[in-house]
């Protein structure tokens, strides 16, 4: 009813392989991009931009990073928070050692540092599988976090032992630091996230992505088919850590404006893993759904009782929101173990054939 593709014929292989084969989908994605780039910065207030949209985009990016590793390659990792931290600290060091080079260059470059660290900690993945690997990646989490706290060189011997983001400008407009407006920062984060999502989408639809999925489905069979396991798994670790590293750098430079090692603790890793699993393993759009749900749910829970004038102490709200998030995770897993992305697909399919499903 809302959604008909009648009359759209595919006459070339390229059209058949397209990521958005249906015209309505292409229009839809353009509308979403237009809203994100024009409408939200124009009409949104600074609370919406600063406290909702920027973190949502950054978490989505991190979730995409973890999804490439866990959802597409089947390697369970609990070290996401630490890899984000590597990105943030690398970006800080690079930006203060070479203040002349533009900050956005360093945000991307810090991803490569995170990728290198990710490869090192990905090495055991060739021998260790499943939950054993998940626990092994916890070694990365705890070791790196210990490094962040114990090595003062990483924060330029600050007294506060925290990253303090310097002010940097782009075409004369401050991008980072206390003077940057939420709108500028939002647009930069959005541009980077969109570009990297496009990159990830091409990656998973191409040869590399198919190699990853073959390894996920069964690595011995993939090896027999001529896929070399070590480079494939390490590449997955590298790309995933790259995404997480960039997300970490964005988080500190364009959202928090300063951070301690505690930001990148184990809870952050779990948080990202929630997003990936609730959103849908092996789905890029699922990463966005997951980030939206897991990140916005506590915010909503905090504001809804206020709106209805129900007096609840803030501590009680905190506890209740923990309970509700926990119960909702279980609920969503029971309703649809393949995540919100699958629910989205089902909805789209239903809309296509409605009101005559047969």
């Amino acid at each position: 009813m809302l959604y008909r593709e009648a009359g759209q014929f595919k006459t070339r292989y390229a059209a058949d392989m397209a990521i958005f084969p249906i015209r309505q989908d292409r229009i839809g994605i353009l509308v979403i991009l237009a809203v994100a780039f024009v409408v939200i910065p124009y009409f949104g207030n600074s609370f919406l931009l600063q406290a909702v949209m920027i973190p949502f985009l950054i978490f989505s990016l991190a979730a995409i990073g973890l999804n490439l590793l866990t959802g597409y390659t089947g390697l369970l990792s609990l070290g996401t928070g630490a890899f984000m931290g590597v990105g943030a600290y690398a970006c800080y060091k690079l930006a203060t050692i070479f203040p002349g080079v533009h900050i956005l260059v360093w945000v991307v470059a810090s991803g490569f540092v995170a990728a290198a660290v990710g490869v090192v900690f990905g090495l055991p993945s060739l021998r260790i599988k499943g939950f054993y690997l998940a626990v092994a990646t916890l070694a990365a989490q705890f070791f790196l976090q210990w490094c962040f706290v114990r090595i003062p060189w990483l924060v330029n011997y600050n007294v506060s032992n925290a990253i303090e983001v310097p002010t940097r400008t782009l075409f004369g407009v401050p991008v980072t630091g206390p003077n940057a407006t939420p709108t500028t920062r939002y647009l930069i984060v959005l541009a980077i996230v969109v570009a990297m999502t496009w990159l990830a989408s091409n990656l998973v639809h191409g040869r590399v992505g198919r190699m990853w999925m073959a390894v996920r489905d069964m690595d011995i069979a993939a090896e027999l088919m001529g896929i070399r396991l070590l480079p494939t798994k390490l590449l997955a670790f590298a790309v995933s850590s790259f995404y997480c590293g960039v997300a970490g750098a964005l988080m500190v430079f364009l959202w928090y404006g300063g951070a301690e090692a505690d930001v990148f603790n184990i809870n952050q890793s779990f948080f990202i893993l929630f997003m990936v699993i609730i959103g849908g393993l092996g789905s890029l759009i699922g990463s966005y759904f997951g980030a939206a749900l897991i990140f916005m749910l506590p915010i909503l829970l905090r504001y809804v009782p206020d709106q209805f004038g129900i007096p609840i102490r803030s501590a009680t709200v905190e506890h209740l929101s923990f309970m509700i998030v926990g119960a909702l995770i279980i609920f969503f897993l029971i309703v649809e173990p393949n995540g919100l992305a699958r629910l989205w697909q089902i909805t789209k399919q239903k809309l296509r054939v409605w009101p005559f499903p047969y």
């Binding site: 369970l76 055991p124 021998r127 260790i128 599988k129 499943g130 939950f131 054993y132 626990v135 092994a136 916890l138 070694a139 705890f142 070791f143 976090q145 210990w146 706290v149 114990r150 069964m218 011995i220 069979a221 027999l224 184990i266 779990f270 893993l273 929630f274 699993i277 393993l281 501590a315 009680t316 905190e318 506890h319 209740l320 929101s321 923990f322 309970m323 509700i324 998030v325 926990g326 119960a327 909702l328 995770i329 279980i330 897993l333 029971i334 173990p337």
Partner: protein
């Protein structure tokens, strides 16, 4: 050279110079290892019988301990009998709560998720963790509580031994913990290998479908297993709580117990014990003799590196069942 000397020789020279200090460190490692082993045991029980990697074990420990203390305080406020009686009644009530929890988990979480991939079940235990954290804080409040060790007649004080030319001090509560842990492991081992339910548990672990087809009730088995690991959690909570205090910070020890688990293998009860001892002793020795070299706090990751080293040679852990993959 100096650094190499400090890493490879100096600690051993120190050990030889002060054997009593070494003995004390070893004992502390042993006790810490025993307690890690207890947590790991809770994990292993559930993993063995349902293939669920139960992340909620840590919070179950806290929850069990809080329930016990909470009931005790409630009973005292209602004016029930002497302190000792109230403590044991509270213990009984806490056991009942763990049974209810096991039943609830089976009914509301596991039963709808039968036959799902492992990672989904793992994720569900995350949800359970969050739920229990929120619920526990809502009911018992976030403040640390004192474990009712005296009221439960647990021994107090220290036992000073004069050996190796020095004084080695053993806390009596630690000895009790070691004893109780050994008894519990022995009982569980017998239960798993000799009884009818134990055999059913192992059958379920092998294959859900096959077990169902020979008439084993999955539901019943899962309640039993979660109840057993709830009991283990209660004992662990009492023991850890008696050493420090009962607070939500305790759930972090579950993360410390994970290396124990991969070291020993997810499916092996003796593995949990041996792994716990290796990790506990390694951690304490490392912290005491090598810690000053790196700056303190290395025990947060040292155990993971110990476990990783073992894992590179035996990917299924020391005692885990050999992983056979077929294409």
């Amino acid at each position: 050279m100096n650094l190499l000397y400090k890493i490879f020789l100096d600690p051993f020279v120190q050990m030889a110079a002060a054997p009593d200090l070494l003995a004390q460190t070893l004992w502390e490692g042993l006790v810490a290892g025993m307690l890690y082993a207890l947590i790991a045991l809770g994990f292993v029980l559930i993993f063995k019988a349902s293939g669920v990697f139960n992340f909620a074990q840590g919070i179950m420990v806290v929850f069990a301990a809080l329930t016990l203390v909470g009931f005790y305080e409630l009973l005292r406020r209602l004016g029930v009998g002497p302190a000792g009686l109230a403590a044991y009644v509270a213990l009984g009530l806490a056991v009942l709560v763990m049974l209810a929890l096991a039943w609830g988990v089976e009914r509301l979480v596991l039963r709808p998720l039968v036959n799902q991939p492992d990672i989904i079940l793992f994720m569900a235990t995350f949800g359970l963790t969050y739920f229990l954290i929120g619920f526990g804080e809502l009911v018992f409040g976030g403040d640390p509580k004192i474990m009712i060790a005296n009221e439960l007649n647990l021994p107090r004080g220290a036992l000073d031994l004069k050996i190796l030319g020095g004084l080695v001090s053993l806390q009596k509560i630690d000895i009790a913990a070691a004893l109780i842990a050994s008894i519990m492991v022995a009982v569980l081992a017998v239960f798993f290998s000799k009884t009818r339910i134990g055999r059913a548990l192992r059958a379920v672990a092998d294959s859900h479908k096959a077990a169902l087809s020979v008439g084993i009730s999955l539901e019943q088995i899962w309640v039993i297993v979660w109840f057993a690991s709830g009991l283990v959690a209660l004992v662990t909570g009492i023991m850890w709580g008696a050493r420090s205090e009962v607070s939500f910070a305790l759930q972090i020890i579950a993360l410390r117990a994970l290396p124990v688990l991969i070291l020993g293998g997810f499916t092996s009860i003796p593995g949990a014990i041996v792994g716990g001892l290796i990790v506990g002793i390694g951690e304490k020795l490392g912290e005491f003799y090598w810690g000053p070299l790196f700056g303190s706090g290395i025990e947060s990751w040292l155990s993971y590196f110990i476990a990783l080293t073992f894992l590179l040679f035996r990917p299924q852990g020391l005692f885990g069942e050999k992983i056979i993959e077929r294409v």
